[in-house]
């Protein structure tokens, strides 16, 4: 047997009631890289992504079998401290969802909750997180203003900064740019390329150009199964499976 990767799933299945949305998926997410999840609508990308930080547990009627490994620990084990785990795995959604608080509070909230009370330390975390999310220069003079006053693209970067504020090792992005204009999308893509230097990133996208631009690995999902998974270059130029090629071609066309 091959050693499981530091972050990987093994035989992971997810059910909503009787319906099996994810079917026995085993795949790894290499460090310092971006893995893109692609596939037609309803094939289970979001479900799979949400299960990685156990957000799927919050949906009534959902359950899972199989394992998720992180540094040798099984995240699906019943004793797992979900709260600690979520601190290590950040998540950002399609629609920006900043808290109804100031820009500063959006970022400082998590760290403060985890025990950092020192004002200077918090200031520092806020600045670093915003810088890492390429938002600092745009908001540094208005940190006390409501986060809801920011543009959609800025809000989305704020959400990324908020996820970064608690220093996660993994970032899960569910179509993070699909509600944004091309300029904001470009910024988010640059950001992803920058962030992957010290993070594992998993991104769901319907945009094939985007997958090709930002990801190192691509996984093609169809009806809850993992059809093909490999290096992005290879998946896009020379996929093994016909259905992968058809999906990608259809999407590019």
């Amino acid at each position: 047997m091959v050693m499981p990767m530091p972050f990987s799933t093994e035989d992971l299945s997810i059910y909503y009631g009787e319906f099996q949305a994810i079917k026995n998926i085993s795949m790894g997410f290499p460090a310092a890289s971006v893995t893109a999840l692609i596939g037609p609508s309803g094939c289970g990308k979001s479900t799979f992504l949400r299960s990685l930080n156990r957000m799927n547990d919050e949906i009534a009627g959902s359950r899972s079998t199989g394992h998720i490994w992180m540094d040798g620990i099984d995240l699906t084990a019943s004793g797992t401290d979900v709260i600690k785990l979520r601190q290590r795995i950040g998540m950002v959604w399609q629609r920006p969802n900043p808290f109804y608080k100031s820009i500063y509070e959006n970022i400082a909230f998590g760290p403060r909750y985890y025990g950092i009370k020192n004002r200077k330390q918090l200031d520092e975390i806020v600045e670093t997180s915003l810088r890492r999310a390429a938002l600092w220069d745009e908001v540094k003079d208005r940190l006390k203003e409501s986060a809801l006053a920011l543009s959609g693209g800025q809000q989305q970067r704020l959400c990324i900064a908020r996820a970064l504020s608690v220093n996660p090792q993994i970032l899960l992005l569910d179509e993070p740019a699909s509600a944004l204009d091309p300029v904001s999308t470009g910024k988010i893509e640059e950001l992803i390329t920058e962030l992957k230097k010290d993070l594992r990133i998993v991104i769901v996208t319907h945009n094939m150009q985007q997958a090709a631009r930002v990801s190192d690995y691509t996984a093609y999902f169809y009806l809850g199964t993992l059809v093909e998974h490999g290096e992005t270059d290879q998946i896009f130029t020379n996929p093994e499976k016909n259905s992968t090629q058809e999906y990608i071609m259809g999407r590019f066309g």
């Binding site: 959604w93 100031s102 996820a163």
Partner: protein, 311 residues
């Protein structure tokens, strides 16, 4: 496209436009008539009562037989009873509403609780008054007292408060909760720090509604807080002293019960004017409380969400 279909389409469009205009006019007429009724009502009460309001009227004791009675103690009692009731109602209502919206799993028990809340909210207040008489006044031996009145009003208001809290929390975007969960926050932290601030505007509205009912309620209070006020010593603010205005175990007639009493069995020659003046004061208090609660809610919301407006 043939000219005929073109004509038909433009006719249809015109018809739609006319319908739109008619509907707009009808709606505006309805809205205006509601405003007119409300203004007329307030104007009528003010017209009848304002002339009778004076500093003396607001501060002196009521008179049973002689002329020149005031409404000092009832006015104070109304305000104090409001505070007492809210101290009990708000925590219970928030707790119940948060439970219903965030903790209760859909099922038989939850539906049953919801049914009970709804039945309770349609109880006639006189029944709640009689219940308060039996349970709080007699069984718990609270006597005719502010506390018994506050408890009866809590029963009266709790369903409203629970329902409004439940709806306020259910109205918070699900994405807010998800964001908190993904950050690893506990459920309680998400409820108190993420959702509560968002829910504040609706909670303020609910509190205003509940408070308005406290000001206006008479039937539930006749047999609980009573229809008399003992002589009060307005320089003694120790709640434990029997003659202190703050003593929650003393009987107290409120403005609303006082109006009721003066109107139904008032012997003073100026009973009609006193009722009119007291009514005007009651209306003014409700209006003032509305403004104050809205201003307070807005300030709180701004403080907690760093926003400029209440949206």
């Amino acid at each position: 496209m043939t000219t005929q279909t073109q004509i038909l389409r433009s006719k249809a469009r015109k018809r739609a436009k006319t319908a739109d205009k008619v509907a707009t006019v009808v709606i505006i007429v309805f809205a205006l008539s509601i405003v007119a009724i409300l203004l007329g009502l307030i104007g009528f009460i003010m017209f009848r009562g304002l002339g009778h309001i004076s500093w003396h009227f607001l501060t002196s004791n009521p008179q049973t037989i002689r002329e020149g009675g005031g409404i000092g103690p009832p006015l104070f009692n109304s305000l104090y009873l409001l505070v007492l009731t809210m101290i009990i109602t708000i925590p219970l209502g928030l707790g119940g509403g948060i439970y219903m919206s965030e903790y209760a799993k859909p099922g038989k028990i939850t539906s049953f609780i919801r049914l009970v809340v709804e039945v309770l909210s349609s109880f006639p207040s006189i029944v709640i008054g009689l219940f308060g008489l039996l349970v709080f006044v007699n069984t718990f031996e609270l006597g005719f007292s502010l506390l018994a009145g506050a408890l009866a009003l809590t029963i009266f208001n709790l369903p409203l408060m629970v329902r409004i809290t439940e709806q306020a929390f259910a109205g918070v975007p699900r994405e807010q909760k998800e964001a908190g969960l993904a950050l690893g926050l506990s459920k309680w932290k998400i409820i108190t720090s993420i959702m509560l601030p968002v829910a504040i505007p609706s909670l303020v509205t609910g509190t205003i509604l509940a408070a308005g009912r406290v000001f206006g309620e008479a039937a539930a209070l006749l047999f609980t807080s009573g229809m008399t006020t003992p002589p009060l010593n307005f320089s003694d603010w120790n709640p434990l002293h029997p003659r202190s205005p703050l003593n929650p175990l003393r009987p107290a007639e409120t403005l609303a019960t006082h109006i009721w009493k003066v109107n139904s069995e008032g012997l003073a020659p100026d009973a009609i004017q006193i009722a009119a003046g007291a009514s005007a004061v009651l209306v003014i208090m409700v209006l003032l409380f509305n403004l104050f609660a809205r201003w307070g809610g807005r300030t709180l919301y701004r403080y907690m969400t760093a926003s400029k407006r209440m949206n």
